[in-house]
């Protein structure tokens, strides 16, 4: 069946095009005599930065550091076991509002486990066991209802995982499923629009709110997932390598978004990308084999790493 609104929208779009008979404008103009744009391999850049300690290049493109706000979450003496595997060993970290905490470290070092523990997702794994204390605004998170805790500290995953529903329904999901009554679409609309605007996606999807979310591009899908998390008005946002499945441009958009969001949220981001940690992180924690090796302000950690393992890792000696 053809939706009447959709068909009018389509005609409105087509009227912009030139009248019949003339060719439509090309999608991309090919200029022959312009200078070719050559992208420098980023790895060399990173190595150079790491080796010389000269970060002027990266620092230039970096947003200003955030202002540390109140401490929202505290991790003290946290250990996580999967069966006999001691995945996170006695880690203590503060998570403050107004700042981004970046967790870095080689694969399998426990940083994702740590992040999932903060959302209490590790509890879904039968073999997982946790020791130590995590507090949210001074309250032990174990004393909170798990759904309430997850609503207050939301999570964005490595792979964009929008639900197979429309864009609107995706963002409205948390709002709809929280109460016992399902609110009307009219009531939800301002919240959905607000969340999409905060995630910087609204302008791109404003006219397509009823389109399938899975047809958005990868970067849009990830921002939709962020909007979905923001719609529930969380106090903390955990991001598990949110850009690893995305192209550089989408990565850039999401990094700007993270910097924007840190004013109102406590953000923890796990990343494999050291430059990303340097760009968006206000504090960086380096983990290795489940240990928290070093924690400090980003500039200190990158310029003057105290531990030898940190120095080797950011120098590219292993990873």
């Amino acid at each position: 069946m053809i939706d009447p609104h959709e068909s009018t929208a389509r005609t409105a779009q087509t009227t912009d095009e030139p009248a019949n008979g003339t060719m439509p404008p090309p999608i991309r103009r090919i200029t022959l005599d312009s200078q070719p744009t050559v992208a420098l391999p980023p790895s060399q850049d990173a190595v150079a930065i790491a080796n010389t300690g000269d970060r002027s290049l990266a620092a230039a493109g970096r947003p200003a550091r955030g202002v540390a706000g109140p401490e929202r979450m505290t991790i003290s003496g946290l250990s996580v076991y999967y069966g006999d595997n001691h995945a996170v060993k006695n880690v203590s970290l503060p998570i403050r509002q107004g700042e981004v905490l970046a967790l870095i470290g080689p694969s399998g070092c426990g940083k994702t486990t740590l992040l999932r523990t903060l959302n209490r997702l590790t509890e879904l794994t039968g073999s997982a066991r946790r020791e130590g204390l995590i507090t949210l605004d001074g309250t032990d998170i174990d004393s909170l209802e798990v759904t309430e805790h997850r609503r207050r500290v939301s999570m964005v995953f490595q792979q964009p995982n929008p639900f197979p529903m429309s864009v609107f329904d995706n963002v409205a999901y948390a709002l709809r499923e929280q109460g016992s009554k399902r609110p009307k679409k009219k009531v939800l609309e301002p919240y959905v629009v607000d969340a999409l605007q905060r995630a910087g996606l609204y302008d791109e999807v404003a006219s397509n709110l009823d389109h399938p979310a899975l047809r958005l591009s990868g970067g849009q899908q990830q921002r939709l997932c962020i909007a979905r998390a923001l719609a529930a008005r969380p106090e903390g946002l955990l991001m598990d390598e949110p850009c690893s499945a995305l192209d550089p441009k989408s990565t850039n958009v999401i990094e700007e978004l993270i910097v924007e969001l840190r004013k109102e949220l406590a953000i923890v981001i796990v990343t494999h990308n050291l430059q990303q940690a340097y760009r968006v992180g206000d504090h960086v924690a380096f983990m290795y084999l489940g240990d928290l090796v070093e924690y400090g302000p980003t500039d200190d950690l990158f310029d003057n790493p105290k531990a030898a393992r940190t120095r080797d890792y950011i120098g590219g000696a292993f990873g």
Binding site: R150, N161, E177, R228
Partner: protein
């Protein structure tokens, strides 16, 4: 020539062979349909649309056919098959309806809530149950369930309330629905479990991470996304219920009778006979041309019914694809 055969198979050759196999299956089905339609024609031609109506007593009509000669008169073709169609619809609908509820809830339990140890036992057992021959269910139905209902559930008042219409003995619509439901539920559970397992974990985790509890996340994300698989399972089970003959013939009372919903709960105790059961029970009198044609007519109705069932499931799945992964 010999050398050519030694070479590895080309894709073209493999494609042709597989295509020929697929086409031959299709050809057999089409041939069957045409053959049955031709054989069924005398029954439809002599009755017209009243074949589908309820005229006369269907069991008497069938008995008359057995004794009709090699050249039956049009009157001997007379058949009003509505009670048989009605019985087929009733048993299939109720069995699918209850089966859908049981299988969905059991599948959700197995996938989401069952501890690993229980799951490891329950899934193979369910698959095994899906393969149990239906005659075993029929045996249990007629030896255990029907006597129990006949002796302990149906009251004397209920028996006397309909005694001038139909005697109640225990076998009937209710037992048929119950046994049929038990028979088709395992296959529905198996398909639904597979469908729910196929939903990406990331969707469920995404829902949980937003602070939705497991029960709500299950319904609003996993079951929602698995609807095509649930429909597929239901259709497979419905087709099995539609064509079930031996078991129904054992437990449904085997009377060409239309149960009356106005009788209240007695409705479920009244005996019925489905089309498939009728075909099986009259197979020995198949040499009487009138009977043969009537049975072929019922077979054709079942075949067309199964076709529309597939068509219906295809139509039902279309709107669900809109938000799915396939773009």
């Amino acid at each position: 020539m010999l050398n050519r055969l030694k070479e590895p198979w080309t894709d073209r050759r493999a494609g042709l062979l597989l295509g020929a196999l697929a086409c031959s299956v299709l050809a057999v089905i089409v041939f069957m349909l045409v053959f049955i339609a031709i054989k069924a024609w005398p029954s439809f031609a002599n009755n017209g649309l009243s074949w589908f109506s309820s005229k006369g007593v269907v069991d008497q009509q069938l008995d008359a056919m057995v004794n009709s000669g090699a050249n039956p008169s049009p009157a001997e073709y007379e058949l009003g098959a509505w009670p048989l169609i009605y019985a087929t619809l009733l048993t299939t609908f109720f069995a699918t309806f209850f089966g859908l509820i049981f299988s969905l809830l059991s599948a959700i339990f197995i996938v989401e809530f069952a501890p690993e140890r229980i799951r490891r036992v329950i899934v193979p057992v369910v698959r095994l149950l899906a393969a149990v021959p239906s005659v075993i269910y029929g045996l249990i139905g007629i030896l255990v369930l029907a006597p129990f209902i006949g002796n302990s559930v149906i009251t004397a008042e209920q028996k006397s309330s309909v005694q001038f219409v139909i005697p109640l003995s225990g076998t009937g619509l209710g037992v048929a629905i119950a046994v049929l439901t038990v028979m088709i539920t395992p296959i529905m559970i198996a398909i639904t479990v597979d469908g729910l397992h196929a939903i990406p974990r990331a969707w469920k985790e995404g829902a949980l991470a937003l602070g939705v509890n497991r029960w709500r996340a299950m319904w609003s994300v996993t079951v929602r996304a698995a609807r095509p698989a649930i429909i597929a399972g239901a259709v497979l089970a419905t087709a099995r219920a539609l064509g079930e003959a031996i078991m129904i013939s054992m437990v449904a009372g085997s009377k060409g009778f239309s149960p009356n919903p106005l009788d209240g709960f007695v409705f479920f105790f009244e005996p019925v006979r489905t089309m498939a059961a009728t075909v099986v029970e009259n197979a020995e009198s198949i040499n009487a041309p009138a009977m043969q044609s009537s049975l072929y007519a019922m077979a054709l109705v079942l075949l067309v019914g199964a076709f529309f069932l597939s068509l219906g499931s295809w139509i039902a799945k279309q709107p669900l694809k809109k938000y799915g992964t396939r773009s």
